[in-house]
Subunit: 287 residues, 2 copies
């Protein structure tokens, strides 16, 4: 007897398809070669699928999170910018980031001697380490300490500990909503050292401009310095994506720190130009 | 009796949907509020649909060409960069651009006194002028001369005529394939004045990197100067899009020419940063 298909997949004319239904009025369907991994964790349904267009993809509760063809763009852009701003980052905290791609990028910095990666779902981390090597790089650097618990609670109990905190969250619906609240950014401020800085993804300027604006405002109210930058993330709706940095002291970047690093998307030119914002974003965040 | 639905649309649970099937392994479906316009021209099936996610969209043979929510990004980026490079553009040729968005942007330059817009399909131009005002701006500037014929043949018969030529083509399949051939770029070189320049869209760096690379190489072989830049076009696959400029003399831009212009996406910062290319593009085009 044939194994039952996961509820998120369907067969059409003999082909397997994943259809995302997260947007009420926009459906995206991916033709799938193979189901590489599928299991329920205590938190969500976890799949790694091999797709025709994007290669292997991490899919949580039926929604594509990252893919082999473009995962590196998001991961490089959320990681290297802040690491090139802090002059000597040693302790880095990653909240979320279960696909291991952010940790992989941070490991490229010799100055860093401890990376705490807090993700609630161990199954996601294990599935990506094993089945999504183009994103996770198989991550086995001994400087990475995996902590499988609630990132918000973990950060609340830290004080004056980290040089850089990277918030690699999913969208602000369901459990990730709290990662966009002001009280969360306040706990990050406390968890950072006196000259630390944080960065988070702040959603699509086109489809979630209210969230983007609110994130920028909330971080501005807490941190001494704030800046927004953008990147193109092809598999996210709208393509254009925003990131917000809150910093206690540093905001100048040293793009030379990137040289000799093996990257696919970011380079010295990109880090210099990513802070150039389109007119409609400038008007929204009024800087 | 109910009117028969256009073949590209279908009803699901009482809602109207457009499903693009141009990619074998990636289907995108848009929920549609209303069919604003629908007619067959001698060249293609033309629709203007009002969608929930992207507002009004121009749809040719079932494929979305431009939308109210993001059409301006593409049109501003293909128009203003070259107009800010040429120090005194007077005569501009647009090949394609039936949605009128490029012509609308060029009209923002007082120095320009003639805009020849050559598109084979009069019905597209009329539909967009009437039913897609957010993209076309209703275009009624007397400097615009509409010419409804084959753009390739039109350009072949011109010599030493234009300061700037903008090739706003669709993808290099079917009739638009010739707009990516070397002989076409040679005829543009001839049609330009001694200090003229041309710009074309050169496809997605992620999904059509071969076309992008080939376009850059072909233009490099003909023009004295060549440069590539990118922009985010949310409704195009991959989001990231490339443009290539071929110039006989000028390549420095004067971003101050943008000041006081009413734009939604481009500004002085964006024009300065759009030439910063991601690492994987630099490696492909070897500059």
């Amino acid at each position: 007897m044939e194994k039952k298909l996961p509820v998120y997949l369907s067969k059409k004319n003999g082909d397997l398809w994943l259809t995302e239904d997260e947007h009420e009025s926009l459906n995206i369907s991916y033709r799938i070669k193979n189901i590489i991994f599928e299991e329920n964790s205590p938190f969500q349904h976890v799949m790694v699928l091999d797709s025709y267009t994007f290669g292997r993809m991490l899919v949580l509760d039926g929604i594509v999170q990252t893919t082999s063809i473009d995962g590196h763009i998001y991961n490089e852009m959320i990681s290297h910018v802040s690491l090139c701003i802090h002059p000597d980052p040693k302790r880095v905290l990653i909240i979320g980031g279960g696909d291991c791609g952010v940790a992989k990028e941070i490991c490229k910095y010799d100055s860093v001697d401890q990376i705490d990666m807090v993700d609630i779902d161990k199954l996601v981390v294990e599935a990506c380490k094993t089945h999504l090597p183009k994103v996770s790089g198989g991550l086995s650097d001994p400087r990475v300490r995996f902590i499988f618990e609630d990132g918000v609670k973990f950060a609340q109990n830290k004080e004056d500990t980290y040089d850089v905190i990277i918030v690699d969250s999913s969208d602000p619906i369901g459990p990730a909503r709290v990662l966009f609240e002001k009280s969360f950014y306040q706990s990050l401020y406390k968890a950072l050292k006196g000259d630390g800085l944080m960065v988070c993804q702040s959603q699509s300027p086109i489809f979630h401009s209210e969230v983007m604006k609110q994130t920028f405002e909330r971080i501005s109210e807490i941190f001494e310095k704030v800046k927004m930058y953008t990147a193109v993330v092809p598999t996210y709706p709208g393509g254009l994506w925003s990131f917000t940095i809150g910093s206690k002291r540093y905001m100048n970047f040293n793009p030379a720190k990137l040289s000799q690093k093996d990257t696919y998307y970011i380079n010295e030119q990109i880090i210099e130009s990513c802070f150039s914002l389109p007119q409609f974003i400038l008007e929204q965040i009024k800087i």
